[in-house]
Symmetry: D2
């Protein structure tokens, strides 16, 4: 994590207050039971997210910078450590759903206790490294806001009752997805990585040169309508489109559509999807979402094209993209987060994360921070693929063209979609 | 299930009201989160137990006997069916912990709705089979009260916080377990099975003759102190005492003590145990509890003796046993259920279930009831072993000398202990 | 193991020589590769069987009774110990198929070496316990002859080439299975267990009294034709017939017919079976074979009847059975072992093992021998079910009415079939 | 696969004859049993390799180019297809060890049959595509020669007897590994990919520009002596060096040294290694071998350095490397293949494959060949890492600086080692 920008104490206080309030707002529509369930090892319970982001401030800020700081509960250091090996043992990830205690009210008290204690460092953030750590904590909590939404979507989807996270109809603007066009690039050396004044995670640094081969990038993501054509052409049953590992997963898991899609029980030819506002028909104009890297790659093979590299994506996003989607700090401002129909082109930030063909690797010269906080990104740089662009569940201010998200190639519970690229 | 006894409507109304109230009392000390967690596939969440016993009355009584009865929620038939294949599909058991919805308040409403509807059949229980089904439902709910306590003990034990179900010290009477003596039996033909006027489950019938070989039965169960001697003699590390399957489990699961025992972190020579009132020292005078059949059998081999058959146990329990422990309808009447120290001998009903060497099989001439309710017991008669005697978590009126409890040989989360037998 | 009979040295020498020759004859039709493959953890490679039975003589006879005996290869004690914990560590069972070395020629040399060394104890078998141990070794090797055939049948069945163990058509006598009749028994006390002068395994002792309830036993085993009726009546798809554990296995393993049955690729309505002489049509007059306890029990439920207990079976076998099938020392004498059509009734020894409803438990007063050889039977007395009667792959002289075979309820690779019983 | 070079028929005939003879030579020291065992799903039996490479010629050459060609055995198309989805179903990879049949003699006959049939196309290779396919088949068989050696090493290592593949002492030249130095590179654009006249696999094309950042590359691989220092510094027990996935594997598999290393039973401080010529002491001057990507990366972190990218490696190998090791067509020419001590520097081809930090991805503009043969490389381009350089088990003529080998990050049974890189 590095920040080149400077913030005043009150900026930081405001950012802290806002991010903390948004997390609580996201949890507030959920019952205690909803906040407790873990539906698969990758998913964490809502209350765990609420406590873990709090533990992050407690561990990396309060315990380090406030002399004599007394932890809210010593056991929480064990329970709410996600993966930081260097700060001690931790509760096993697949067992987070066994934690009936601490309860949601204990977690609320924990959050208040830490918020109160944070007033001191927020009021005087000029000790070495402090401002950067608080800023990191704010962005860390934003990341977990998106994870919280991804995770609760998975939890609720596993209930036979298919409950909505937020009810109310999904509103959509009228119109249809335009035909896709191409943004062409002549190739040659380009600068890649975070250059601006604002915050960036350590994995976006350092800036370096990459040589691009000429290519074209689609000016909009693949839609559900196009995905239905792939399905109708037996895309999920023809091995010639698939990576070998992907084909094995398709067969083992019996995939036949994106995650959360289900056949309409009253009309098996028609597809429904589970969303954060309940079950509704698949909209052909929406960008396809909740597909794995394997599926994204197979779809690209089916079209005879390919996925972009992350350098290609970033280069176009910085130089060609039109006014991006407006994201809100409070991702619930427009109702339950869901990708909107693609009614115009070139917006590369905002509705679905877009799989790239780039394995998640360190940039040349990458260095991790010393100490446990250095475990933030570097140790995950293997067997994962980079996604770019943010999604409907990403808080405003959290994403930018250089932002590198990453998931294993079989993961589908992120809001991941597809943008195609082609060779000349 | 068969009942020979006759009850008046008001008896039945009273029994129904009592059992329903006790279940709610058992759940009332738990938070919504506590009631939602499933800590292993064998365990069900508290709120699931509360709803399932209600579903039993709805399915087998209300839907059958009340014309036009309208189910509280059609989805519940799928969610709260435990294992009755003949009434339709059901939610997979290992996924009961994914059910954030229905929540505890929905479950409370469901219980009230069914209780109200039950007033009609309870007021006029004389239709064919009705009284028996309601009586079965009452005993079924009692069974689940014990399961609820077993299950929540396991859930809470998995929390790093080791929370108590009911706090408050475990009280014990002064004194020590007496030296064990022997009740001798000359063998010969005996009558086995339920003969009295009261309720019995189908698996206790029919009465039949068994020929016993002369034997002796210990006059008290094995204590924790004796178990500690077994452990100190390397009982868990010497294969010569163990059944082959048991030895494989000991090594795979790294068993070195009964379930819920843990070494005192401050003194690794000392053993603590997790109880429903929290962590406390192992009391050498208590009957050992939470051991598997494998462990019970290995302990018996270590002593050079053996476990009793269920016929031996039942014969002694009926003819020789002294005044049994007083059980209460409300098993919380004495605080959190826990086996009391064995301060006198011959009481065979009440503190711990006692493993017998008898595989759980049908009695000669056993018949199941027609229809789905016939799935109650018969289909589990394979690969399980019979336990006799009831335990500290069994409601009064639910256990008797002919009662056959059963678990697989590796199960430890029941309150299962050991009583030894010997050949002459 | 106990023997009451007396044998002369030359009897013993003859028995030893015969059993050793038969094992080699069974292996002689197999290639080195055939003898090496392990197709599932329960199966052992042929060459492993050949060596293990040799190790048994080496360990329990030569090492104990021949001063200064030098083992053929010290590593073999580790490799060819099956499960005797008390004689040291052993090679893991599921990895027997990794043993490319020792090769079949090494094994042949090992057998010769031990045969030569055995001449001394065979010539003077009167030291305490020696004769009994050699006799036990002979019967042990006979057991492994049957296992060898069961195992190689499984190995060959997994080859896409479906090779025959012994080619040549299966000959059958003309005629059809008669309608089944009933042998009725009035119940009452009976003596159970091995009483004769010959050899018996320890699990057949001691003789004891069992009280039988009146019952009838079918006078022939269930045929493949009857099994086809069960299948046609959706027997494998109707949970009401099945034990709960069995139903789970049916679904997990997608069982729809006995093991080794397969649909005719040219006519999916017709069933073929893989046999030791290759693939051939299912013969409706043969006793059904290669079914699990779960399937046997489900079939019995479908008929409205039940399986017999082992006491019932033994009582009838001793008092009512007609001239049993002639078994041969060399089970290949009639070609590849396979159950013959049931053309007459009452023969209870010989074509298929018959599942009983009795869990495999010690008889009252059962004692194991001291030392490692005592691990022979007792430690397997859990979670298994008794089969009676012997089968087409059992050597002559190895089976008798009191013989207790046993397998877990899901095992199908033994030659296990079904005989029905009924209550009056 | 593309070839720019031209070969005369007799070149091709010679290459074909040589490669076929070498495969048989590699198998000739193995027994039928050795050739049958599969020790893990990644490993194939020797006889399977012998048959599969033959199937490759039969399927892609004979069936395509010889009118009326009759397959040796139709079942072989199913059994010996490795992963080509487009030529039909195939036998499951993890079950190759179940194939007792076809036996080694059947396989020898199959090889002769195909060799004879190949005389026609080899004599007249000028039909479109034919020469390229035969050349591909020759290189394919060379790949399998190395796999055969990797696989049999693993098979023999799992035997409690630790048998040698080829006995005879490993000879080594006197002397010690020199201190490592650095080959520095100034960065900037470089051309990557296969440019020469000879054969290259499809994954080496097309040539393209990559922009390098300045870096240094070690002039020799990491030695066993250096690896022992890593181990002594608790390298396998300190999470700070490890990728998160790697740390999980280290703990799950209890890795504490490279594959095939074992503590000397007589002196637990001393390390031995299993080699193709049996167990012998670890030689500190040898390049470390049989380490995974996870271990290579952790070692690099421990030194504070990093692994090279494949572009860095290739650039140095082409421009800076000194006379490479002489490889032989017959890798047994120097005895059992084993990495030799590193007595001089800069040789980058020959003793151990070297892990790069590059995920295995298509080069810009990569295209697969049409049809099933196009499945050769492209479909494996996910979740694998590139290794460069060849090893002691690679046949001469099979490796070159642009050659891209690849394995998953946890694989250790390849002859994989480590060369370090550094930033300026």
């Amino acid at each position: 994590m590095e920040t080149s920008g400077r913030t005043t104490p009150s900026d930081l206080q405001g950012a802290y207050a806002r991010v903390r309030a948004v997390t609580e707002r996201l949890a507030s529509v959920l019952s205690a039971e909803d906040q407790t369930v873990q539906s698969m090892p990758d998913v964490s319970p809502t209350k765990w997210h609420r406590a873990h982001v709090t533990w992050f401030f407690e561990t990396f800020v309060l315990s380090e910078y406030i002399p004599g700081y007394r932890a809210f509960d010593d056991a929480y250091a064990y329970i709410f450590n996600s993966y930081y090996e260097q700060v001690g043992d931790r509760h096993p990830r697949p067992e987070r759903g066994l934690l009936s205690r601490p309860g949601v009210e204990d977690v609320a008290r924990y959050r208040s206790y830490v918020d109160e204690a944070m007033e001191t460092p927020l009021g005087d953030p000029d000790q070495p490294g402090l401002r950067d750590l608080i800023t990191l904590g704010v962005h860390h909590e934003q990341q977990h806001q998106e994870l919280l939404l991804m995770d609760i979507k998975h939890v609720l989807s596993r209930s036979p009752l298919h409950p909505a996270y937020l009810s109310g109809p999904l509103r959509r603007a009228p119109g249809h997805a335009p035909k896709a066009g191409w943004i062409e690039h002549d190739g040659g050396p380009v600068e890649i990585g975070h250059q601006g004044a604002g915050f960036g995670f350590d994995n976006e640094f350092p800036v370096h040169t990459v040589h691009l081969t000429p290519f074209g990038l689609a000016d909009r993501p693949v839609t559900c309508g196009e995905w239905l054509s792939f399905m109708e052409d037996d895309g999920y049953r023809r091995p010639e489109f698939w990576l070998s590992d992907g084909w094995a997963v398709v067969n083992a898991q019996r995939w036949e559509a994106p995650l959360y899609w289900q056949r309409d029980p009253d009309d098996p030819e028609r597809w429904l999807q589970f969303t954060l506002s309940g079950v509704r028909p698949v909209d052909p104009d929406e960008p396809v979402c909740h597909v794995s890297y394997y599926e994204a790659d197979a779809f690209a093979h089916w079209t005879g094209l390919r996925l972009p590299t992350e350098s290609e994506w970033e280069t176009v996003a910085i130089s060609h993209a039109k006014g991006d989607n407006v994201l809100h700090d409070d991702v619930l401002a427009r109702g339950a987060p869901h990708p909107r129909p693609t009614l115009s082109t070139n917006a590369m930030i905002g509705d679905v994360w877009e799989w790239t063909s780039s394995a998640y690797s360190p940039y040349p010269g990458f260095r991790t921070a010393p100490g446990a906080v250095g475990e933030y990104n570097g140790k995950f740089m293997v067997s994962q693929y980079v996604l770019r662009g943010g999604c409907c569940a990403t808080p405003a201010g959290h994403v930018r063209p250089t932002y590198r998200n990453f998931f294993p190639p079989g993961a589908r519970w992120a809001f991941g979609g597809v943008r195609l690229a082609r060779d000349p």
